[in-house]
Symmetry: C2
Subunit: 460 residues, 2 copies
């Protein structure tokens, strides 16, 4: 029996299993559901043991439990592949907007509807079916690579204990490549792989002038106004090309290769509907010389997330405000280092603080950017697996946001490959989250092919 | 008996009268004290009748009462002088910080201590003594000019009904010159006259982008951020010379004459202690080419009083904010017109709103600037009166703030002359307001000389 035949023959049982799992409301952000996060971990470990994984166990983290499973290769020289996903889910509110209860999964119009169907239980469980399909097709007793599964239970609430877990379990989790199954592809008929995520550096800056608000009739025009200085500081963060003006900001930014740009440009991107999704009637905007997708995926930014100072209530108050504040987040791309950027920001603030004002900068915990070169053997292997499953060329995307993936790559010191079959249409984090059942099966097929492709890719 | 002799001989009675008046807590901002504002008006009208004013009456305004008094000149061809002051006072809180109860006036170290001693009851009542001193010295039965007194009861709570009162009573209040007795002079040994007050135009601007906050990972760098645009808009309000960049902003600003600059420069101004008053450890700042006093008195400004947008709470929130807001007040100088400046601000905002954002501007009620040229006959007459009272040269100041004076000048169509003997040291609006008793007597003397000087000045 070939892979597709096995997946189709076992699809019914797979969907029923997934529905069992989806019925457990493993909401990590809700303390009342922490017991359910435990039940979810226990369910998965039990399921994986039933699927044939020689090792499958709940992993305590100090917070909510993860699940660890391992299926060693028959070939001790084979590479080790670690698959990352998570079994906790987003809260389901507002409940009234669901067409059916979020934790009573149902099939409808070829989709499986329920919280976690796409993010991330469906995309985790497809590997269980994929491994069995690969073994059924090859007739081997063990996969061609050693498979390790690490399924986190706190992803939707900040992955608080995840980096510590990785450090503590570094030996057990040692691997040659990390497969991330927690993203999306472009469209059902445009399969794609994510090849990077932007990092994040949140900072806050305060400029302080007088010890109290001053009467602008008596002092206005004669002393520096912290709000004016903040406006200039923020306005100066970008030049007239839309480039960020921090010193050395672009020094470590990896340039886009011509093949990358060409492949990105082939994605059927409708800027108008993207703007409409943003509720923006207006215009595109950004760094000159780059397309919108390049801007939001491949270029670092400086975004002011909030600012405030002086009188913000009703009516007018004629003051020179005592202080002004801003919260700024830098989206970083490989190989920018958050610590370098934080230092550059401090330099920038010092250079833009007028005489007579005091500046204070605080730097919050950062997320590193991550990047999978499209010509790397592991990415090429993943691409071939997806192409075999979908029967068409796989393109490349990136994600503008940030997750725990960079910690995985950094702490386990292995390259990332993103294999996912979720879609934006799945409405993850929103009411009526669902997952296309056909895409789940394609994902299981891609998983089945992936082990062979990685075994042959020379990544060890 | 000469003027000084009369003032000294009647000082005791004058101070005792003033203490009676100060005992009435005429706090216009406190509804519980509105009855006392009425008592204060009645007290003053009665006092002025007793002093010899042929007309002295309470004037209903629709709000709290004013007092109107009139003493016609013996010479029907003489000019008409309207004196403005107010009989309401600031609230006295915090009461615990007063050395003696605010409405139980006491004399201490040559000062009269009590709410309203300087602002403005003392400076109103000195004219009653001044008129009588003039008559005693000349032996005439009527003053050399027709004197009208208009003493408002709502100055400390916004003069809500004042402009309407002026319009309604325009004929009765008709005059050739307006004497304002509600400001300060530089120092006890540096007598001075105010020659202008800055106007005020408060505006608010909002820049709106998407219909909701956007995820900065998904949209950051690809759509315009209203906070960035607001920062640029605010930063662009001043050029690198500290000049305001609104179109036509300086077109109607009266230039400072050389004598004005020279006289301002002769004021013994200690920038260091002024900065210390502001609680500013830091540097001076402002429009290049002007001294600090010129900046805060004679030059128009644009001051951002408040701004806000996006996330302003604890922690970070990675959004492209939906909107940004700013409150700005323009301090105006003669002959700027608030309506012109409001139109210029709308033009400026339109020119600084990037494609894809919407701008909305609201304009709040404005105060016009006022200005008394130092070489005008009325100001010269006032200066001579003060110089005779103080026996030394009188310098010129301005005020950076704004009051109802511009309404007086505009509606009654007469020039302003500022005659006042208050000091910054009087702590008006604060606990322990007080007034130097010797300066009150000098003020009464100046008032006595003022009628002769104005009669001789050819201002009719």
């Amino acid at each position: 029996m070939d892979v597709r035949g096995y997946v189709e023959a076992n699809a019914r049982e797979f969907i029923d299993d997934l529905k069992q799992w989806l019925a457990i409301p493993s909401i990590s952000a809700d303390p009342d559901r922490h017991g359910d996060v435990g039940h979810s971990a226990a369910w998965l470990a039990s399921h994986l043991r039933g699927a044939g994984f020689p090792v499958a166990q709940v992993l305590e983290t100090g917070g909510l439990p993860a699940v660890y499973a391992e299926w060693p290769s028959g070939n001790p020289a084979a590479p080790v592949v670690l698959v990352y996903g998570h079994h906790d889910v987003q809260p389901a509110e507002p409940l009234a907007e669901w067409d059916s209860p979020p934790f009573e999964p149902v099939e409808r119009d070829g989709r499986l509807l329920g919280r976690g169907a796409s993010d991330d239980k469906g995309q985790v469980l497809l590997h269980s079916l994929g491994v069995r399909a690969a073994l059924a097709a090859s007739g081997a007793a063990a996969p061609p690579v050693t498979i390790k599964l690490l399924v986190e239970g706190e992803e939707e609430s900040g992955s608080e204990h995840f980096a510590d877990l990785l450090r503590r379990e570094r030996e057990r989790l040692a691997c040659d490549v990390i497969v991330i199954s927690d993203t999306t592809m472009w469209a059902a008929d445009v399969p794609s792989m994510c090849t990077g995520m932007r990092g994040l550096l949140p900072v806050e800056v305060t400029l302080t002038g007088p010890v109290r608000d001053l009467h602008s009739g008596s002092f206005g025009g004669g002393v520096p106004n912290p709000v004016h200085a903040m406006a200039s500081l923020l306005a100066g963060l970008h030049d007239d090309q839309g480039r960020v003006t921090l010193p050395r900001y672009y020094d470590r930014v990896l340039p886009l290769s011509s093949p990358e740009r060409e492949l990105l440009a082939r994605l059927p991107f409708d800027e108008k509907s993207w703007l409409a999704d943003a509720g923006h009637s207006g215009a595109l905007y950004g760094e000159q010389g780059f397309s919108t997708l390049e801007r939001i995926w491949t270029r670092p930014t400086a975004e002011v997330n909030g600012m405030w100072g002086g009188h913000t209530g009703p009516g007018s108050k004629t003051i020179v405000p005592q202080a002004a504040h801003a919260k700024i987040s830098f989206r970083l791309v490989a190989d920018q280092d958050p610590a370098d950027v934080a230092a550059a920001f401090r330099e920038y603030v010092a250079a833009h603080t007028p005489d007579g004002l005091e500046a204070a900068v605080t730097v919050q915990p950062a997320v590193r950017p991550c990047h999978s070169p499209i010509d790397s053997p592991a990415v090429q292997a993943g691409r071939r697996a997806l192409q075999r499953a979908f029967g068409r060329e796989v393109l490349f995307t990136k994600e503008g946001g940030s997750g725990p993936e960079a910690d995985l790559a950094e702490i386990l010191d292995a390259p990332l490959v993103f294999i996912a079959v979720g879609l934006d249409a799945d409405q993850i984090h929103a009411p009526n989250e669902s997952m296309d059942i056909t895409l789940l099966q394609r994902g299981a097929e891609a998983s089945a092919y992936l082990w062979d492709e990685l075994a042959a890719a020379g990544i060890k």
